[in-house]
Protein backbone atom coordinates (compact mmCIF):
# COMPACT_ATOMS: atom_id res chain seq x y z
CA UNK A 1 0.00 0.00 0.00
CA UNK A 2 1.41 3.41 -0.93
CA UNK A 3 2.32 5.42 2.16
CA UNK A 4 0.23 8.56 2.61
CA UNK A 5 1.74 11.91 3.36
CA UNK A 6 0.79 13.35 6.72
CA UNK A 7 -1.07 16.65 6.65
CA UNK A 8 1.24 19.70 6.50
CA UNK A 9 1.87 21.41 9.79
CA UNK A 10 4.17 23.80 11.59
CA UNK A 11 6.27 23.22 14.66
CA UNK A 12 7.90 25.64 17.05
CA UNK A 13 11.65 26.14 17.11
CA UNK A 14 13.30 23.67 19.50
CA UNK A 15 13.28 24.92 23.07
CA UNK A 16 11.24 28.01 22.19
CA UNK A 17 10.26 29.90 25.33
CA UNK A 18 7.42 32.41 25.50
CA UNK A 19 7.06 35.05 28.16
CA UNK A 20 3.87 37.15 27.92
CA UNK A 21 4.24 40.80 28.89
CA UNK A 22 0.60 41.95 28.82
CA UNK A 23 1.46 45.41 30.18
CA UNK A 24 3.41 45.96 26.95
CA UNK A 25 0.75 44.32 24.80
CA UNK A 26 3.33 41.79 23.72
CA UNK A 27 4.98 38.45 24.29
CA UNK A 28 8.70 37.82 24.28
CA UNK A 29 10.01 34.75 22.47
CA UNK A 30 13.43 33.26 23.11
CA UNK A 31 15.06 30.69 20.85
CA UNK A 32 17.95 29.13 22.77
CA UNK A 33 19.34 27.16 19.82
CA UNK A 34 19.99 30.37 17.92
CA UNK A 35 20.10 32.72 20.89
CA UNK A 36 17.71 35.48 19.92
CA UNK A 37 14.90 37.40 21.52
CA UNK A 38 11.86 38.63 19.62
CA UNK A 39 8.95 40.80 20.62
CA UNK A 40 5.69 39.39 19.32
CA UNK A 41 2.48 41.30 18.99
CA UNK A 42 -0.72 39.61 20.12
CA UNK A 43 -1.45 38.15 16.68
CA UNK A 44 1.96 36.51 16.38
CA UNK A 45 1.70 35.26 19.95
CA UNK A 46 -1.69 33.67 19.27
CA UNK A 47 -0.38 31.94 16.16
CA UNK A 48 2.57 30.52 18.06
CA UNK A 49 0.33 29.26 20.84
CA UNK A 50 -1.95 27.56 18.33
CA UNK A 51 0.99 25.94 16.51
CA UNK A 52 1.08 23.18 19.09
CA UNK A 53 1.47 20.23 16.77
CA UNK A 54 -1.93 20.37 15.10
CA UNK A 55 -1.91 20.35 11.31
CA UNK A 56 -2.25 23.51 9.25
CA UNK A 57 -5.95 23.00 8.51
CA UNK A 58 -6.76 22.69 12.22
CA UNK A 59 -4.53 25.68 12.92
CA UNK A 60 -6.42 27.77 10.37
CA UNK A 61 -9.73 26.72 11.85
CA UNK A 62 -8.65 27.61 15.40
CA UNK A 63 -7.19 30.97 14.33
CA UNK A 64 -10.36 31.88 12.45
CA UNK A 65 -12.50 30.98 15.46
CA UNK A 66 -10.40 33.10 17.81
CA UNK A 67 -10.24 36.16 15.55
CA UNK A 68 -13.91 36.19 14.53
CA UNK A 69 -15.82 38.39 14.11
CA UNK A 70 -13.06 41.02 13.88
CA UNK A 71 -11.63 39.18 10.88
CA UNK A 72 -13.83 37.68 8.19
CA UNK A 73 -12.79 34.21 7.08
CA UNK A 74 -10.76 35.31 4.06
CA UNK A 75 -8.92 37.97 6.04
CA UNK A 76 -8.22 35.48 8.82
CA UNK A 77 -6.69 33.11 6.26
CA UNK A 78 -4.48 35.87 4.81
CA UNK A 79 -3.44 37.12 8.24
CA UNK A 80 -2.52 33.61 9.32
CA UNK A 81 -0.57 32.83 6.15
CA UNK A 82 1.39 36.07 6.42
CA UNK A 83 1.92 35.50 10.12
CA UNK A 84 3.22 31.98 9.58
CA UNK A 85 5.61 33.26 6.93
CA UNK A 86 6.82 35.99 9.31
CA UNK A 87 7.36 33.53 12.16
CA UNK A 88 9.18 31.08 9.85
CA UNK A 89 11.44 33.81 8.55
CA UNK A 90 12.34 34.75 12.14
CA UNK A 91 13.16 31.15 12.99
CA UNK A 92 10.34 30.83 15.52
CA UNK A 93 8.36 28.29 13.52
CA UNK A 94 9.42 25.74 10.96
CA UNK A 95 7.92 23.13 8.74
CA UNK A 96 9.01 19.68 9.89
CA UNK A 97 10.29 17.30 7.22
CA UNK A 98 7.43 15.54 5.43
CA UNK A 99 6.35 12.35 7.15
CA UNK A 100 4.40 9.47 5.86
CA UNK A 101 1.76 7.60 7.79
CA UNK A 102 3.93 4.47 7.63
CA UNK A 103 6.83 6.13 9.47
CA UNK A 104 7.22 4.73 12.91
CA UNK A 105 5.08 1.70 12.10
CA UNK A 106 6.64 -1.63 13.10
CA UNK A 107 8.11 -3.47 10.14
Amino acid sequence: MRPERAAPRHERAPGLRLRPVPELGACLAYTPAAPRLHQLNATAWLILELADGRDDAALAEAFAARTAPALPAAAARRTLENGLAELRSRGLLRRPPPRTTEEGDPA
Binding site: A42, T43, A44, A62, E86
Partner: protein, 169 residues
Amino acid sequence: MTGSTDPADAAEALLRAEGRVAPASAAPLVSVVRSGEQFLILPPSGDEPNLGPLGRIVLEWGYEVPRARYAEFQAFLRDSNGLLGTSSVPGLRYLGTYTVFQQSERSLGSFRTIWDLERLAQMEEMSARVADAGDEWGRAVAALMAFRDPDYAAGRSQVILQLAAATIL
Protein backbone atom coordinates in the same frame (compact mmCIF):
# COMPACT_ATOMS: atom_id res chain seq x y z
CA MET B 1 -6.93 39.23 29.94
CA THR B 2 -8.54 36.52 31.97
CA GLY B 3 -7.41 34.27 34.75
CA SER B 4 -7.29 31.35 32.30
CA THR B 5 -4.19 29.20 32.39
CA ASP B 6 -4.48 28.44 28.68
CA PRO B 7 -1.89 30.67 27.00
CA ALA B 8 -3.90 30.69 23.75
CA ASP B 9 -6.83 32.13 25.72
CA ALA B 10 -4.52 34.79 27.15
CA ALA B 11 -3.23 35.69 23.69
CA GLU B 12 -6.78 35.88 22.36
CA ALA B 13 -7.84 38.08 25.28
CA LEU B 14 -4.97 40.46 24.61
CA LEU B 15 -5.91 40.56 20.95
CA ARG B 16 -9.54 41.34 21.75
CA ALA B 17 -8.50 44.03 24.26
CA GLU B 18 -6.61 45.75 21.46
CA GLY B 19 -9.83 45.98 19.48
CA ARG B 20 -8.36 44.88 16.16
CA VAL B 21 -6.29 42.08 14.69
CA ALA B 22 -3.05 43.61 13.48
CA PRO B 23 -0.79 41.72 11.08
CA ALA B 24 1.50 39.40 13.01
CA SER B 25 4.85 40.88 13.83
CA ALA B 26 7.94 39.37 15.43
CA ALA B 27 10.57 42.03 15.86
CA PRO B 28 14.11 41.10 16.90
CA LEU B 29 15.01 42.69 20.21
CA VAL B 30 18.37 44.18 20.94
CA SER B 31 18.73 44.79 24.63
CA VAL B 32 20.27 48.10 25.56
CA VAL B 33 21.12 48.35 29.23
CA ARG B 34 21.12 52.01 30.15
CA SER B 35 21.99 51.76 33.79
CA GLY B 36 21.36 48.34 35.27
CA GLU B 37 25.02 47.45 35.42
CA GLN B 38 25.95 50.80 36.84
CA PHE B 39 23.23 51.75 39.31
CA LEU B 40 21.77 49.05 41.51
CA ILE B 41 18.04 48.99 42.17
CA LEU B 42 17.69 48.55 45.91
CA PRO B 43 14.74 47.65 48.09
CA PRO B 44 13.67 50.38 50.52
CA SER B 45 15.47 50.19 53.85
CA GLY B 46 12.42 50.96 55.98
CA ASP B 47 13.84 53.96 57.82
CA GLU B 48 14.50 55.91 54.65
CA PRO B 49 13.63 59.60 54.84
CA ASN B 50 11.18 61.00 52.33
CA LEU B 51 13.50 62.13 49.56
CA GLY B 52 11.11 63.57 47.02
CA PRO B 53 7.50 64.10 46.01
CA LEU B 54 7.40 60.88 43.96
CA GLY B 55 8.09 57.29 44.94
CA ARG B 56 11.55 55.75 44.99
CA ILE B 57 10.95 54.35 41.52
CA VAL B 58 9.22 56.12 38.66
CA LEU B 59 7.93 54.09 35.75
CA GLU B 60 7.22 55.91 32.51
CA TRP B 61 5.46 54.35 29.55
CA GLY B 62 5.87 56.12 26.23
CA TYR B 63 3.58 55.24 23.37
CA GLU B 64 1.50 56.42 20.45
CA VAL B 65 -2.27 56.29 20.17
CA PRO B 66 -3.74 55.89 16.68
CA ARG B 67 -4.86 59.38 15.60
CA ALA B 68 -8.38 58.13 14.85
CA ARG B 69 -8.73 57.23 18.54
CA TYR B 70 -7.57 60.53 20.05
CA ALA B 71 -11.06 61.70 21.02
CA GLU B 72 -11.97 58.32 22.50
CA PHE B 73 -8.66 58.25 24.37
CA GLN B 74 -9.22 61.69 25.90
CA ALA B 75 -12.74 60.76 26.93
CA PHE B 76 -11.42 57.58 28.54
CA LEU B 77 -8.78 59.51 30.48
CA ARG B 78 -11.36 62.00 31.74
CA ASP B 79 -13.80 59.29 32.74
CA SER B 80 -11.25 56.91 34.26
CA ASN B 81 -8.82 59.28 35.97
CA GLY B 82 -10.31 58.60 39.38
CA LEU B 83 -10.43 54.85 38.90
CA LEU B 84 -6.84 54.69 37.63
CA GLY B 85 -5.81 56.54 40.77
CA THR B 86 -7.25 53.85 43.04
CA SER B 87 -4.49 51.33 42.46
CA SER B 88 -5.13 47.90 43.89
CA VAL B 89 -1.37 47.45 44.31
CA PRO B 90 -0.41 49.05 47.62
CA GLY B 91 2.44 51.51 47.13
CA LEU B 92 1.91 51.92 43.40
CA ARG B 93 0.39 55.21 42.25
CA TYR B 94 -0.92 56.46 38.92
CA LEU B 95 0.55 59.92 38.36
CA GLY B 96 -1.28 60.72 35.17
CA THR B 97 -1.07 60.54 31.42
CA TYR B 98 0.58 63.36 29.49
CA THR B 99 1.08 64.36 25.91
CA VAL B 100 4.64 65.16 24.94
CA PHE B 101 4.99 68.86 24.25
CA GLN B 102 8.59 68.57 23.20
CA GLN B 103 11.21 65.84 22.93
CA SER B 104 14.27 65.20 20.82
CA GLU B 105 13.57 61.54 20.09
CA ARG B 106 10.46 60.80 18.08
CA SER B 107 10.49 57.03 18.59
CA LEU B 108 9.67 57.33 22.28
CA GLY B 109 6.00 58.02 21.59
CA SER B 110 3.78 61.08 21.89
CA PHE B 111 2.11 60.13 25.17
CA ARG B 112 3.43 59.24 28.60
CA THR B 113 1.75 57.42 31.42
CA ILE B 114 3.64 57.79 34.66
CA TRP B 115 3.53 55.63 37.77
CA ASP B 116 5.48 55.68 40.95
CA LEU B 117 6.25 52.75 43.14
CA GLU B 118 8.38 51.65 46.04
CA ARG B 119 9.84 48.40 44.75
CA LEU B 120 10.22 46.62 41.42
CA ALA B 121 8.09 43.70 42.61
CA GLN B 122 5.09 46.01 42.34
CA MET B 123 5.49 45.88 38.55
CA GLU B 124 4.82 42.15 38.73
CA GLU B 125 1.85 42.73 41.02
CA MET B 126 0.56 45.25 38.51
CA SER B 127 0.78 42.65 35.72
CA ALA B 128 -1.17 40.20 37.88
CA ARG B 129 -3.92 42.76 38.48
CA VAL B 130 -4.11 43.57 34.78
CA ALA B 131 -4.45 39.87 34.03
CA ASP B 132 -7.25 39.51 36.60
CA ALA B 133 -10.60 40.14 34.89
CA GLY B 134 -12.21 40.57 38.31
CA ASP B 135 -10.01 43.52 39.30
CA GLU B 136 -11.70 46.80 38.37
CA TRP B 137 -8.49 48.83 38.54
CA GLY B 138 -6.66 46.17 36.52
CA ARG B 139 -9.37 46.38 33.86
CA ALA B 140 -8.96 50.16 33.71
CA VAL B 141 -5.20 49.78 33.24
CA ALA B 142 -5.79 47.17 30.55
CA ALA B 143 -8.21 49.54 28.82
CA LEU B 144 -5.63 52.32 28.97
CA MET B 145 -2.98 50.01 27.49
CA ALA B 146 -5.35 48.99 24.73
CA PHE B 147 -5.19 52.53 23.33
CA ARG B 148 -1.50 52.15 22.57
CA ASP B 149 -0.75 51.79 18.90
CA PRO B 150 0.27 48.13 18.52
CA ASP B 151 2.08 48.74 15.24
CA TYR B 152 5.74 47.87 15.80
CA ALA B 153 6.82 50.97 13.93
CA ALA B 154 4.84 53.18 16.31
CA GLY B 155 6.79 54.94 19.03
CA ARG B 156 7.08 52.95 22.24
CA SER B 157 9.38 53.28 25.22
CA GLN B 158 9.72 52.47 28.87
CA VAL B 159 11.89 54.28 31.39
CA ILE B 160 12.48 53.26 34.98
CA LEU B 161 14.00 55.87 37.27
CA GLN B 162 15.21 55.41 40.82
CA LEU B 163 15.79 58.25 43.26
CA ALA B 164 19.47 59.07 43.00
CA ALA B 165 19.74 59.67 46.74
CA ALA B 166 18.53 56.11 47.38
CA THR B 167 20.89 54.53 44.84
CA ILE B 168 24.40 53.17 45.21
CA LEU B 169 26.34 55.26 42.72
